[in-house]
Each structure stands twice: as C-alpha cells, then as structure tokens.
C-alpha cells in the first residue's frame, strides 16, 4: 500500500476566495453568513446563507466558458487552479494518464436548473440555451477540471448529499493508496443558493432564520452555504522525490450506511464510520486531537454526533477538541467536507483549532470541548473529519501531521 499526502489546496467559499483568506477567517472566528442577495428573496422565509459575495466570473473565465459553466463548476475550477498551482504538478506528460478527478456535489448545476425552469415555466419561453444539459450535469465540474489540466485517468462525480465530498476524497485516497493512480484531484462543490434551492430546504423545516449555532443548546437549525474546495492527493514517494511541500498525510477512511431513515441520523452508523476510519488508519482513539464535526446546528445531528463520538472515544472524548466550522461558512452540502478539511489541515500544520462560533449555551447532550467561539492553539498529530448525509450515508477521513 502506498502512502497518500496532500500537496495542494484551493477554495472559494463565503469566507474567502482562497485558502489563506479562509484560514485567517477560521483563526479570527469570522462569520461569513449574511443576508442573501438573490432574486425573489421576498418570497423566501429563509433569508440568510453563506453566500460567496462579489463573485466575478469574468475575472476567471472567458465569455465562452461563462456560458458553459454553472456556478458550481466555476467555484470548482478556481479552487482546482489554486490547488494544482500549489502542488506544482503538471499533468501534460505521462503523469496525466495516472491522475484523475473525483469530486463531490449533491445538486450539481442547481442554478442552471432554476434559471431554465423559471424561463420555461414562469416566463413561458419555449426554447432554452443549447448548453443547459452539459452545464447542469453533476459531472460537469469534474470533467472541466480534467480538460483544463489534462487529467486522463479515472474521473467521476460522487453524490451522497452532505457527505459527497468526503466520499469523493475517500475514493481518491483509495485510488492513490492502492497504486491505481499516482495523483488525484479531489474535493467538492455546491451552489444551490437560488430561489428553488432554498425553497426546497425550507420545506423540510430544519433551517435557521437567524444563525447556525452548532452544539449550542439554543441552536435552531442549519444555514446553507456555497463554494468549493479542491485538493491534490499524491503518492508520498512521488511527492518526496520532487521535494513537494506536504500539507498533511491522509491515513484513513471509512464509510457506513445507517440503513435506517432517509433524514434522521443514527448514532451507530456515525460511530461505525468514525471507528472504521481509525481502524483503517491503524490509530487509537488517544491519537486523535481534533475532530472537524459534521455539526450542522440541527437538534438531531449535533446530539447524535456527540453521542457517536462519546461511544467511539470513551473517556478519551474529554481530551479531544471537536468544532464545527459551518457556523462560519454555512453548510456547503455536497462541498462541505472539502471546505472543512481545510480546518483539519490548519489544526495539523499550524497548530490552530478553528472554533465553533455562535456558541451561546451549553447543551448537556453535547458535552464535548467544542472550542467555543475563539480559535485555540494546540499541537495536534491526528485530525478526523466527519460527514453524515441524509439517506444515512456516513464518510469519515483521518489525517496525520506531515
């Protein structure tokens, strides 16, 4: 088995349109959730989100590309450019045959669906733009990354709702670890902050109208976000030989299915995924210093997640830190695990733990150290990142300090 390291990272999210800006925001505990600026907001009851304000496609793409790229693809490509530039890899030669792209998204081109439904249903138009299908398809982002960087190995898109990114990165990890690929571009993206995207979530009655407050007793729901994060996973010896800067090592991954309920989380399913990732990485609970929680800020997720962590870690749970950065960037749904992996890398590399902001009242059912409101300095050797999706699909990654 090969060892797998991360040699590049990129992101666009509500906090910043790059990694350094995002990490600065994490350190400052800054909130990127604001009033939404979208058409027909007056007909929505949810009016806040982790929106990427000031997004300027023309700064990144030419006219032909803008016509062809849904916003989820745009976010992905900008994040991928940053990640691949940082890695220093070039895939034009033989390496391109041994490298691919696996990305996560839950909804794909939701804005494209929304705009075109509006056009044919609300505005009564009988003709849509010829690129609607290639623009909205869930694999559009992965395909455009493959084309822009000449990645000619295995590429596909994973859709497991809120765990999409973690499942995608798990696949990329497996491919490099098994020797099937030398390097993989991986992560995820989501852009569903449009009228239809938010209206759908409103229906479920789990959204907060004022703030995302993970683990806080007065939490009242999740807040959507948008954006992308993309990483370069590379085989360790390949990275060493070219003296690449290593951001962190990916050491374990596990996925489980609750086989129980389409929306309610399961403690057992989550616990089996966390324990599975530790086993895969040959780690003991005591090795883990930080958990980036799924931490959606819903009543159900947060208490179930804390119970799962308590089950896996036992008394050790009192000695680890677990925070949810969703209170800062919102829930990026299929892209969320990717953005949150940045908090794990920051913990391992910089020794700074991103806080759970918006934390106001202790909840006895979430009695863990959730790093409330203020970032903390701490040396961490191993971090894990949780993602638990609707549909009961759980995916947990384990990372080690390089």
């Amino acid at each position: 088995m090969k060892r797998v390291v991360i040699t590049g990272a990129g992101t666009v999210n509500a906090l910043a349109q790059d990694v350094s800006g995002t990490l600065t925001a994490f350190k400052e505990g800054r909130c990127g959730i604001t009033a939404l600026d979208i058409p027909d907001i007056d007909r929505l009851s949810i009016k806040i989100g982790g929106q990427v304000h000031g997004w300027d496609p023309e700064a990144h793409f030419n006219r032909q590309q803008i016509v062809l790229f849904d916003k989820f693809t745009q976010f992905t490509l900008v994040a991928a450019r940053q990640a691949i530039a940082q890695s220093g890899l070039n895939f034009d030669g033989r390496l391109g045959n041994e490298a691919g792209v696996v990305l996560g998204t839950a909804g794909g081109g939701v804005n494209t669906w929304d705009e075109n439904y509006r056009s044919v249903y609300a505005e009564g138009k009988n003709r849509v733009h010829p690129f609607v299908v290639p623009k909205l398809m869930n694999n559009a982002a992965a395909s455009h990354v493959s084309m822009e960087f000449n990645l000619r190995g295995p590429s596909f898109t994973v859709a497991t709702a809120c765990a999409s990114s973690n499942h995608a990165m798990g696949q990329a990890f497996h491919m490099v670890r098994s020797g099937m690929a030398r390097a993989m571009v991986t992560g995820g993206s989501e852009s569903m902050l449009c009228f239809g995207g938010i209206k759908a979530w409103e229906g479920l009655r789990v959204m907060s109208k004022d703030a995302c407050r993970p683990f806080s007793l007065n939490r009242n729901g999740m807040v959507q976000g948008e954006g992308a994060a993309v990483f370069v996973f590379e085989e360790l010896e390949h990275a060493r030989k070219r003296k690449a800067e290593i951001l962190a090592e990916v050491v374990g991954f596990a996925m489980t299915s609750d086989a129980a309920d389409i929306v309610m989380p399961s403690r057992q399913g989550a616990a089996r995924a966390i324990a599975g990732a530790l086993k895969d990485a040959r780690l003991n609970p005591a090795d883990v210093g930080y958990i980036n929680a799924h931490g959606t800020g819903t009543a159900a997720n947060d208490k179930t997640e804390c119970a799962a962590v308590a089950e896996v870690f036992g008394p050790q749970a009192d000695h680890l830190m677990m925070s949810s950065t969703k209170a800062m960037h919102g829930h990026l749904i299929g892209g969320t695990g990717a953005v949150e992996l940045l908090a794990c890398i920051m913990a391992l590399r910089d020794g700074i733990i991103a806080p759970t902001i918006g934390y106001e009242e202790a909840d006895p059912e979430c009695a863990l150290d959730v790093v409330p409101n203020v970032a903390r300095e701490a040396r961490v050797d191993v971090a894990i990142s949780n993602a638990f999706a609707f549909g009961g699909l759980n995916a947990v990654l384990a990372l080690r300090r390089a």
């Binding site: 009655r205 789990v206 939490r219 009242n220 729901g221 819903t298 159900a300």
Partner: protein
C-alpha cells in the same frame, strides 16, 4: 366551510398515521398515533395547503414554534387560531 377544521385536521393526521379517522381522537398525541418527525413535517405542510395558512414550525425547536403539537386537539386549536388571525 362545509367540513370542520377538526375533521380536516383529523383526516390529515389519519392519512399520515395510516389509521382510520375514528382512531384519531382529539386527545391522542402524534407519537401515540405513530407519526414520526418526517410525518409531522408532512402533516404541517398538508395543513398549510388545506387552510392556506402559514404554520410557524421549526423541527429543531418544536416547543418554541408557537404551534402546540401536544395532541390532535391542540393542533386543531392552533390551526383555528391561525385561521382567526388571518380573518382578523
């Protein structure tokens, strides 16, 4: 309205619970009728559609929603309250 608020609410809940209308009495709780959290959200949607009202309900904090879901009877009263509010 020909059909009473009570009958409509009971019919909506009976459909969610998969029970006969007669089994849905005013003093029964949603839990005792076997309506789970997703069923509650769906029943509230059906109530909103049936009465053209907006029910203030957040699944994360049902107790703070100002819409009493304790029993079928309290739901009927809450729906009647919303209808009266709208008429006022």
């Amino acid at each position: 309205m020909a059909i009473s608020v009570e009958d409509t609410v009971r019919a909506i809940i009976a459909e969610q619970a998969g029970l006969d209308l007669a089994d849905v009495t005013l003093d029964s709780s949603l839990e005792s009728l076997g309506v789970d959290s997703l069923g509650v959200v769906e029943a509230i949607f059906a109530i909103e559609e049936a009465f053209d009202v907006s029910v203030p309900f957040n699944a994360n904090a049902p107790q703070d929603s100002g819409f009493d879901l304790t029993s079928v009877g309290t739901i009927v009263a809450a729906v009647q309250g919303l209808i009266d509010q709208q008429a006022a």
